[in-house]
Symmetry: C2
Subunit: 537 residues, 2 copies
């Protein structure tokens, strides 16, 4: 398997990250205008629309915009989702015109869009902070829990002038960062510093900020897992760097082998690429594996030895379902090995969008930045300050998820029941969908040990692959489109994440509510059988 | 005056936007590592700190990060603010240790940080949307106005599944965009389309998005006013383009002359720079002027003729104090001239941070994008989708400011009183501070017709300029630092915005609460007299 992957590396890179026909080049080139991803290339190379053929629009054309923008792709909201939105509109306008009643968005980790309810305590506190003038009214006692009122007071007292409508410090409200640092300490058993926390509008802006800091040109590279969450390929493309892939091994449950990291690093260096950082997504997205502690130690050693910044995407830290697996932050691992700030530069990303809370719309998150020199940190601060600050509601929520109600608090029981209800349901849903995928002809699906996705591999008949090629589509994009059109289920083709060439996958969230799962499984199974029958060789 | 400006162009550019010693170059060069801005260069060129001299930190140094990050500057939260924060901490730890009791942050348009209260109706709606499960409880009737409850229901009904915790469409919730489009129509008397609205986390991310789209290399330029709000110089630097300055004429109340625009455009073109867009800030920041309708028409014609995208920063549209001035959006002007979509590409930026609402911490805003071809618009959408969506609280608030309570609504009277109270007070504060500045020796201050700032010009004694030079500081930065240290008043030196070389300014917000203004004027006046006495030639 390993040799197979190594041999196929070049082709994969060419397919997913390169655009020039010059196949020996290793770079996600800044000068590459056209994406070769079959599912979207037709859009990009299409002739100018009517509008662009006249007047001012001539000044801004696909040929005259930043080629980095053109080369960037983000399949999670790509062509398949645009089509799904159109079908949803059609269902609204002409009910009964499609073979299904609703669109099921399994393309994105967006729990509340599929019916997950928010954690009551968190929303109580947010409402009180949004409208502090009701906080000491008598009616409020009847509507809000006592500890939510107390917490809102504490938070307001952290904010100068209790002004939740003011820009905060560019890293976020100091008192909230202290709460988050205390939460990290409690989680890891090692010190955390409020000055290392940068609150951000979700995790994505933090990732962009680090890419912007580290990438000088296409000669700078970032080691990324394949498959990867396409925020990484997109932000590397937008900032003009090079994605240096390393492969997760599907055969060993998407294992991460240091030997593969090393060989990919060497290959990149031999091509003149300066590799600046290693991205690790743990728990994995789209792959769902939870790294073993021993493996994490190897990764830390690798980064330390090679002088790489470790960019740790830890947004699924609360989403672990496998009873024998546990989340450990990379900072905890590094500190437990005796490595201090000076030994390794490490950035940990966290978000309020995931976990059991799933508060995607609030756009809260933070990055914990350690191991950088004071002068470089000053530059990170400066970039953060250009956008003034992240939204205060998201900042407050980030402090809440890192410091939820405790035993003895009025809300604790209800909070715990909500949390455990969501997490145990997610575990059941993951299992049911995994079993369903594994029962399909030609489909194999690894366990979702964590995160919110299944990433089943599809062995598609040659005739289906040819039919896809005839439409200039990747075979999994073709499958996903057919799945959408016949069942209303939206998934993301594996080609949007990167995969070993010749293999096909889809990413499907485990987020539909449990009462809908039987119908989904039924529709999926019937579709798959029909699809395979149609294209059977 | 005009000739003077033209002659000094090169020097200004060299001072503020160039970093190489190669003075004939016109570019905010991507390869320029060091800023020559006196107030901050010492930070940037300082020797590595102790931390950076060992271990992993060696891998990421000022020499190895993206030079675009190094070259970017944002004075509104620059060195002077960092110093102010330290003094604030000192006052907390050792009260009485400084010659003042509090730090007055007049550096930034952040009204609620200085005591402005939020508009009640807006906060009621936000609280209900944050915690919808209280919306139909009986206690809620006693706490919230009837129309805030009704509005919250309307908004929740716009959001699929009423899920305020879900990612929305990448442009923002459709129904909220429709509300905003209706608000624009009501404001302008011309149609607006929800599909043209991109909701953003404040206005800044929209500006970054457009710079990212338009700037391919340092050979691409953006015409920006000087003085300018440094978001523009910062985002141009971060995206590797060239700032092409045009000068506002202080002698005519910061007037904008088309002849100057034209000559600067020609100069840039003669140096091989492709100018992509023109930034206009109206009402002006930091300069406070409100453009006349006739002037706006000339600007529209200029952009149309030259094929430039018009980037209209209209975030201060509700902040007009001069009775003879009125805000007109550039889209209204263009449409009233008969120019349609095909004639001019125009982006209007709006924010919930300014106006009478001043909700900076909510990070809401939008850009209205018109006159781009469908395929380019698709690219803007793609970039927006990489960050998923802006925060929903900010989205809701953006819809509220574009659709506030109307006559007959329960909240209308209270809302109007709050709004008028804030706006009339801002007008009085602007007048009082303008008079105070104009009464100081060697200080001249134009009227703040709009926005939130005064930008007085300081005629500083030669000895003060020399003392500043001895500290490697711009004279206005030196003045601002002394002002902070002796009075606790924080202003931004004019050198952070760009100014005609040899002139010195400070930007001071009009935002301190009215009861504080007399003391501020007294401290400012006493300080200025002492400063002038100390350095009098």
């Amino acid at each position: 398997m390993r040799r197979f992957i190594a041999e196929r590396t070049k082709h994969l890179i060419k397919r997913n990250f390169l655009t020039s026909s010059n196949s020996h080049r290793f770079l996600a080139s800044q000068s590459s205008f056209f994406s070769s991803s079959p599912s979207t290339s037709s859009t990009i190379v299409s002739p100018s629309s009517m509008e662009s053929s006249s007047g001012a629009s001539n000044q801004v054309t696909l040929q005259s915009i930043n080629p980095k923008v053109l080369s960037c792709e983000y399949a999670v909201r790509g062509a398949i989702v645009t089509q799904a939105e159109k079908l949803q509109e059609q269902l609204k306008q002409e009910p009964g015109s499609l073979p299904f009643d609703e669109i099921l968005f399994c393309n994105i980790g967006n729990p509340q869009s599929l019916g997950q309810l928010p954690i009551t305590f968190f929303r109580e506190v947010l409402a009180l902070c949004d409208h502090p003038s009701i906080i000491d009214k008598s009616e409020t006692q009847g509507l809000f829990s006592a500890d939510s009122i107390e917490r809102a007071w504490q938070i307001l007292d952290h904010i100068p002038g209790r002004a939740t409508g003011a820009y905060s410090h560019s890293q976020g409200v100091k008192g909230l960062r202290e709460t988050i640092a205390a939460g990290i300490e409690a989680r890891d058993g090692f010190p955390a510093n409020a000055n290392d926390i940068f609150l951000t509008d979700g995790a994505s802006p933090g990732v962009h900020m680090m890419m912007q800091l580290l990438l000088r040109s296409e000669q700078d590279g970032i080691l990324c897992p394949i498959p990867q969450y396409p925020l990484y390929s997109a932000s590397i493309a937008l900032h003009g760097g090079t994605l240096v892939p390393y492969y997760l091994d599907e055969a060993t449950g998407w294992g991460l082998e240091i030997s593969n990291l090393k060989s990919q690093l060497e290959t990149a260096r031999s091509k003149g690429v300066t590799v600046r950082a290693l991205v690790v997504i743990n728990p994995g997205n789209p792959t769902g594996q939870v790294l073993a502690e021993e493996n994490q130690k190897q990764i830390v050693d690798f980064c330390k030895e090679e002088g790489l910044v470790l960019l740790a995407d830890e947004v699924y830290q609360e989403n672990v379902y496998a009873p024998d697996k546990k989340f450990h932050s990379f900072k905890k691992i590094a500190r437990s090995m005796g490595h201090e700030e000076k030994d390794i530069a490490l950035v940990s990303f966290q978000s309020v969008s995931k976990g059991y809370y799933g508060e995607c719309g609030k756009r809260g998150g933070y990055m914990e930045v350690t191991g950088f020199s004071a002068d470089v940190r000053e530059q990170i601060y400066k970039v953060a300050s250009v956008n003034l600050c992240s939204n205060i509601t998201g900042q407050i929520l980030a402090s809440l998820v890192m410091s939820p109600p405790k035993v003895g608090d009025e809300s604790y029981e209800g909070y715990s029941a909500e949390k455990e209800g969501i997490l145990s349901s997610l575990a059941r849903r993951a299992q049911t969908l995994e079993d369903a995928f594994n029962s399909l002809e030609g489909v194999t699906c690894n366990k979702a040990e964590g995160a919110m996705y299944l990433f089943p591999r599809l062995q598609l008949p040659q005739k289906a692959i040819q039919a896809a090629e005839a439409e200039h589509a990747a075979a999994d994009a073709f499958y996903a489109r057919r799945l959408l059109e016949e069942t209303g289920i939206v998934v993301v083709p594996g080609s949007g994440f990167g995969q070993v060439p010749g293999t096909w996958h889809i990413r499907c969230t485990i987020l539909p509510q449990e009462d809908k799962i039987p119908a989904i499984v039924e529709r999926l199974t019937a579709f798959h059988k029909k699809f395979m029958d149609e294209y059977r060789d």
